[in-house]
């Protein structure tokens, strides 16, 4: 890397760091920031414990396309302290499966999405764990190897569509640049593949939107262009980080329908990150509930959404206003809010991460940290209620 290039990259990194979220649209301009990753990774890798001790889960991961073992990520603060954002997260993703990751702000759900592709901000480091994708250990790859995977095999969609698109480039061009960055150079196949991606997100209106500029598009349409970028290279995994957060309910339900049709047509596996459990209905196959960087509950959508087991999940679902048909007599009644919030103060150094806000706290909860246990085949929970 020559020095001029390096200055450019540092500037690019700087601009990326002043934005609230590092946005990757996979246009070449942004891809340059990927090249900068050696600098960042060098901060990350030395602290990495090469292998996870417990190899007992290895056999189950043979079938999983993407497997995460014991992933721990910490952010360093200005005072040199380390704040854990993810603590021992395990997950497995089968081909074509949609995993919903549910959590409130500060639960570590976005950190999880970015850690999988090593796109964490500079003050974060992966302190432990392994990410295995199609048999390759992502945390050990060189940045060039990782670049081949990002956007092509695993792509990511962020929540702010207005920031992720280039303002002076036509939508179609922004999608074909992703393809070009991954080695598709012949004009004809570029055109065809771009068109195919647009067909999936703008059924019947491909022509109109290929030539549009971002400012001519509404929020929902821009989000569709981002989805087109993400699926252009026909990846096997798409990570969607709150893809509908800034949209109004009508547009939100349209975008959810786009995701549902992607699931049917392209059979792409997805990690769908959200804070709203209702969005997972009819979309996700399995759900993982994160609280304070820990998986507190996981299971099939049917199980977790209809019979949540962890006190946090139960309280979270009860804090949502009841469906309108039932709300007639309960209007202006108190909603069942969870006391306090997920802040550093509510995280006690020992015991369960939810104990300070839990209404069913027991003595054991402040003494030890619970581990995930299975409740039947399709649900697991980390709470002492089910072990004592």
């Amino acid at each position: 890397m020559d020095s001029r290039n390096r200055i450019f990259i540092v500037t690019a990194l700087y601009f990326q760091s002043i934005q609230a979220l590092p946005v990757i649209s996979l246009t070449p301009a942004r891809n340059i920031t990927f090249d900068a990753l050696p600098h960042r990774v060098s901060l990350v890798l030395p602290t990495l414990v090469p292998q996870h001790k417990n190899r007992g889960t290895e056999s189950t991961t043979m079938t999983a396309m993407l497997a995460v073992h014991d992933l721990c990520v910490s952010y360093s603060t200005g005072e040199g302290e380390l704040h854990p954002a993810l603590v021992g997260v395990h997950l497995e993703l089968q081909p074509g499966e949609i995993l919903g990751v549910l959590g409130e702000s500060g639960s570590g759900k976005s950190t999880l999405g970015t850690a999988l592709l090593r796109l964490l901000p500079r003050n974060a480091c992966i302190t432990r764990g392994a990410v295995v994708f199609e048999g390759r250990k992502l945390l050990q790859l060189t940045s060039e190897e990782l670049r081949q995977i990002r956007g092509q095999r695993i792509s990511i969609i962020f929540q702010e569509p207005s920031r992720a698109l280039h303002p002076t480039m036509r939508a179609g061009q922004q999608v074909s640049r992703v393809l070009a960055a991954h080695g598709i150079n012949r004009k004809k196949s570029l055109r065809e593949k771009t068109r195919r991606a647009f067909d999936a997100v703008f059924p019947g209106e491909t022509e109109r939107f290929l030539e549009s500029y971002p400012h001519q598009l509404s929020g929902g349409q821009r989000q569709r262009v981002l989805i087109a970028q993400a699926i252009a290279c026909e990846p096997s995994v798409v990570i969607a980080d709150e893809p509908t957060a800034s949209l109004d309910p009508t547009t939100q339900s349209e975008i959810l329908n786009v995701f549902r049709s992607l699931k049917k047509q392209l059979k792409v596996a997805m990690i769908f990150i959200t804070h709203n459990p209702a969005l997972l209905v009819g979309l996700a196959d399995r759900v993982m509930v994160l609280y304070a960087g820990r998986v507190v509950e996981a299971g099939t959508v049917e199980k977790v959404l209809t019979s949540p087991a962890h006190p946090y999940t139960r309280a979270l679902f009860q804090s949502i206003p009841p469906e309108i048909a039932e709300s007639g007599n309960s209007r202006k009644a108190k909603l069942m809010a969870i006391p306090a919030d997920l802040s550093q103060e509510s995280l006690l150094p020992e015991g369960c991460c939810f104990q300070a806000r839990c209404t069913e706290k027991m003595e054991v909860c402040s003494a030890a940290e619970p581990t995930l246990i299975n409740l039947g085949d399709s649900q697991s929970v980390s709470c002492f209620k089910y072990t004592h």
Partner: protein, 267 residues
């Protein structure tokens, strides 16, 4: 305070290549809110609901139409009377992170309304700040913090504390819950209900969340393209919607499967 809005029109001029074209954000809005009650204005993005909030709060001058607080027409008041009236109307925005000065301590943020409208001594201001924090459920230890050290829910509580400092009679909530997590939304919604019954405030609650509107409001007005297309008691709007726009909004709502079943058995 009762609020009566009649035939409110707001027109913006949008420049283009050949000159400028007129864009109507509000096309003749009329409604009345009874003192101490809540009107929710719901609508999709671009329906004009935020422009309505800005006009009522006095940030935007309406093109035509009248806004009356307690039967006094706003446009006919002189500058001094308007200024006094304005302390009676407070606005809370969607994003507390950008509506609070990041360099100010909580104590300074809470002192500002008093400094602008009432001449209070330092001790009195401190006393008032304690009362306000108590109202919104924050402890005194927050006074020396800055907004950056608060969570989203705490920031929105602070924004509410600042808004109620001058004991307003009308609170305009422009998507005040939309940026918060579900569990925090419930806390703030409960807080708003408590404050309304304690202080007798009138709420103009602007949102795109029909479920929350149905929960909090006495009446709902549905807006589309700058007009109110349907208005009535909250139950009626959500149980028997008559306009297509209302039905669209209702069908777009995502729901959890209801009726929480018993806790699963231990293995």
């Amino acid at each position: 305070m009762s609020l009566t809005v009649e035939n409110l029109v707001k027109r913006y001029l949008r420049r283009n290549a050949v000159g400028s074209e007129e864009v109507f954000a509000l096309r003749g809005i009329s409604f009345t809110i009874r003192p101490g009650s809540t009107l929710a204005v719901v609508g999709a993005s671009g329906s004009g609901k935020s422009t309505l909030a800005l006009c009522v709060a006095g940030f935007e001058e309406p093109t035509s139409g009248t806004i009356c607080f307690d039967a006094a027409e706003n446009a006919k008041l002189d500058a001094n009377e308007r200024r006094k009236k304005r302390s009676q109307i407070q606005l809370i925005f969607q994003d507390p992170a950008s509506s609070l000065n990041p360099r100010w301590k909580v104590s300074e943020i809470l002192a500002e309304p008093f400094a602008l409208q009432k001449k209070l001594s330092g001790d009195e201001m401190n006393h008032q700040a304690h009362i306000l924090l108590n109202h919104v459920g924050l402890s005194r230890s927050f006074l020396t913090r800055r907004p950056g050290a608060l969570s989203g829910g705490q920031r929105q509580r602070l924004a509410i504390a600042r808004a109620i400092a001058l004991e307003p009679s009308l609170l305009i909530l422009d998507e005040a819950l939309s940026a918060l997590d579900c569990s925090v939304q419930a806390q703030i919604a409960n807080l708003l209900v408590d404050l309304q019954s304690a202080l007798g405030m009138t709420y103009l609650f602007i949102t795109h969340d029909l479920a929350m509107a149905a929960h909090l409001a006495d009446e709902i007005a549905v807006m589309a393209h700058g007009e109110i297309v349907e208005q009535g008691p909250a139950e009626k709007i959500v149980m028997q919607p008559s306009h297509q726009e209302t039905r669209n909004l209702l069908s777009a709502m995502a729901h959890l499967p209801r009726a929480m079943p018993p806790v699963p058995e231990r293995p």
